[in-house]
Subunit: 212 residues, 2 copies
């Protein structure tokens, strides 16, 4: 555990340095959780002094909030794109459930869970969490609305149903963090549950095949 002797960091434009620090914070958060995003840890990862990290941020609370925000923004964008590729609302809903429950985003789930916990003591973070939850819900509302309009789904309170589905997915993923062996394929049971939620007949929604 000897500390690496460090040369003075190359002088860069503020814009560039900001990006590097943000990237370091994201890498840290995804690898070791939001709690690992400390002044010194970020500085070390970015190859820079703690003072410089502080120089670019009003506070660590802000950097943590920003980091959460950026990570989730990417998540939403990726899933949104995947959903948009599907041609019908039932396929879109299945794709959404399938990708969010396939366990490939465990690192992001950790960030979510830690954000819920840390948000109680970090108001900036709490604001970001609320904002990004709204964004997630909007995505799901869009899928449901499309399905209702196309006649694939029964008319429902899309907003409420979206919150419900989001809560289910978050809970199942959080659970998988601790008990990843809980139940084999969660997307199948979730699909059945969503059919009940949306008043669909069993089997209307397809369960995504596992990619290999």
């Amino acid at each position: 555990m000897s500390s690496t002797p460090r040369k003075r960091a190359e002088r860069k434009s503020p814009a560039e340095r900001r990006i590097e620090i943000a990237a370091a914070a994201r890498t840290l958060a995804l690898g070791e959780g939001l709690a690992a995003v400390t002044l010194r840890a970020v500085a070390a990862r970015a190859g820079v002094t703690p003072a410089l990290v502080a120089h670019y941020q009003p506070s660590m609370d802000a950097l943590i909030a920003e980091t959460f925000d950026a990570i989730v923004a990417v998540e939403i964008e990726e899933v949104g794109a995947l959903v948009a590729e599907q041609s019908t609302p039932p396929e879109r809903l299945s794709a959404l459930i399938g990708t969010l429950l396939d366990g490939s985003r465990e690192d992001v789930t950790v960030v979510w869970v830690e954000a819920w916990a840390l948000g109680r003591r970090n108001e900036s973070l709490a604001a970001s969490v609320r904002h990004r939850m709204d964004a997630w819900q909007s995505v799901i509302v869009g899928v449901i609305d499309d399905g209702v309009e196309s006649g694939d789904f029964e008319p429902v309170d899309a907003a409420a149903a979206a919150w419900q589905l989001l809560g289910m997915i978050d809970g199942l993923n959080a659970q998988a963090l601790v008990r990843w062996d809980g139940a084999g394929r969660r997307d199948a049971l979730t699909t059945r549950s969503v059919e009940g939620l949306l008043g669909l007949r069993p089997g209307v929604l397809q369960v995504e095949p596992v990619e290999t």
Copy 2:
């Protein structure tokens, strides 16, 4: 914020003191979260010196794990008792869903969410979390099994369905922590989802009336 001048604490039997310290830790956790369970905070709440708290515990990690364990044990016991009062499996399931989603246990939900997050750095806590999740799942499995046996529910993989329902409830409660206004009554939509999950016809499960 002046520190209260403290007399020497009355000398008590180890058993009694242990109970008091544990109680102080529980009160703190329920009021301000698991993260607030620190050596000094617990000591202050118990009217005792930090050194004494340390004297009764091998480490703070252990005290935090023990505190989580005790709080959740009570939760499970209370809900278990409420469920047992109901006469039929559908009523038991509805009662379980109703009471867990009525928002009256927000303090316990905070403890759960923090435990998921802190468990990544506190192995004792992680073990307790796994243990208590199993306990929760067992309670739900019992209700489902009864229902299948009585013919009220269709035959299903009770273990998997129980994990699913548990995940749903946890997720919805965690969500309510940040967005308590998300959707009015979550139990209604959850009930519909569970009908889908268990392969029941819509409306078979009753939505609990709101107590006033």
